[in-house]
Symmetry: C2
Subunit: 278 residues, 2 copies
């Protein structure tokens, strides 16, 4: 294998989740549901020293793996908004360095999960981004190979528009929401798992977003005029996600633009993280 | 959800495997490695009675799920050659019927695995086809959600050509090969798992195929003149799989045709089974 690889990692915007903490970071994680988006993060990894990046996770994950590598990153979205981007960068760096060393990807993915848990920046993003699956359901919490991911059937030509309206640090958010997640959040997740269909996903995700204070009347008010062609929408931290038919993307984009809501358009990623030899 | 779905399921040609039998079909399976191919099986499922198909697995899986559905199938390859097609049909029928009923896909996939194990037609195809992953590695045996799948990084523009040269019933094959799999096969699988790279995949898969008697001097002799542009090849039951750069497909196809070896061309499927609402 050549000494350079490119790793493509989908983004992940959780719609509903219930944190599950154990005394082991491999079994710590979340159950819930989220949407995987493409294009996602691109992580280029070259053998050799380096390991710096926009987040401390990168050096942490390479150190844990006992590997050195130089890592470059890019993504169409900002860090800290709610796209699971720190997980995507951490996972990409771990997979790329392990691939160059001829080591198993699943161990790399587990190490990325452990780093995310220890840094308090994510509980379910790594397993979702490793496996892919469009609208994914974490039915058992934990790292890849420990947790279990299912997927929700959805309409054929589904697209997503996203809008960033706020940023918030994940670890402080998790503390702030602890009680709401454990009580009202848990009930919504359980209700979804009883009937994991697209329609119940749309309904319960919006409700979850409102309960957690992500989806405010202000945000809903701003998109009100463009709602007709949307299947539904939800928000996670500072990201609004609108689901709609791919044929309606252009019209809804224009409508939202008129309302001053700037959006990016994505496809759903059924593919998990992929390592490509250059 | 409308009363009709289409399920796309990749094909799976195992390259190396070690059967693992337990007293529970959910934990029975195989460890090993195989290639996922697209285009694969298309399974159309409509609510209502029916459930007949080209294989008894369909009625078995619907009965186990307590669902009725009418099921139509197609695939670019024949049953019984080594493409994991009975698993693809069983999995597709289970996923489609469950999606129509609003039930979890992972339970449907587990039921398909159980039916394949009980009918003796496959041990690792269902989990590989449910998750996808290009070149997949079953690192822990069992049904989806029980077993664990990893993936092998491979060159960017990889394609596969296949040639069917024989058919053999899977259950009688498994009996015939029992000792060879347990002894020489197990060593090759272990060696691969120690260093799961593309190069070792190519080398060890060919060796495994020769040890099991799939890759005969006769078959190797027939493709000898076209070997230069191949990355490598292996055989499973009656299917020969050639891996090569997508740019070389046309030339190698022509070369093989001149030797009287008829081939079909495929891409690698990084996507697992997908349920599409019509």
């Amino acid at each position: 294998m050549r000494r350079r690889v490119k790793v493509l990692v989908p983004l992940h915007v959780t719609a509903m989740w219930l944190p599950v903490y154990t005394d082991n970071p491999l079994t710590t994680g979340s159950i819930g549901v989220g949407v995987l988006l493409k294009p996602g993060a691109v992580v280029e990894v070259e053998a050799g020293s380096g390991g710096r990046g926009p987040i401390p996770h990168i050096s942490a994950v390479l150190k844990r793996l006992g590997l050195s590598a130089s890592v470059r990153f890019s993504a169409p979205v900002p860090l800290g908004a709610g796209y699971g981007l720190s997980a995507a960068y951490t996972l990409g760096a771990a997979l790329g360095a392990s691939a160059l060393a001829g080591r198993p990807l699943i161990e790399a993915a587990q190490t990325a999960h452990v780093v995310e848990v220890e840094m308090g920046t994510g509980l379910g993003d790594v397993i979702a981004e490793f496996y892919g699956g469009g609208i994914e359901v974490r039915v058992k919490p934990g790292a890849p190979g420990v947790g279990v991911v299912d997927k929700v059937p959805h309409p054929r030509r589904l697209a997503a528009l996203t809008h960033v309206f706020r940023r918030e640090d994940t670890s402080s958010m998790l503390v702030r929401l602890r009680d709401a997640l454990r009580e009202r959040g848990a009930k919504l997740v359980e209700k979804f798992l009883e009937q994991p269909t697209y329609d119940s996903f749309l309904e319960l995700s919006a409700e979850f977003s409102r309960v957690m204070g992500f989806l405010t009347p202000e945000v809903e008010g701003r998109i009100r005029r463009c709602k007709k062609q949307m299947h539904g929408y939800y928000a996670k931290k500072g990201v609004l996600v609108v689901l709609l038919d791919v044929n309606e993307v252009e019209e809804v984009e224009e409508c939202l633009m008129r309302e001053g809501v700037e959006v990016k358009s994505f496809g759903l990623s059924h593919v998990g993280a992929v390592v490509l030899r250059e």
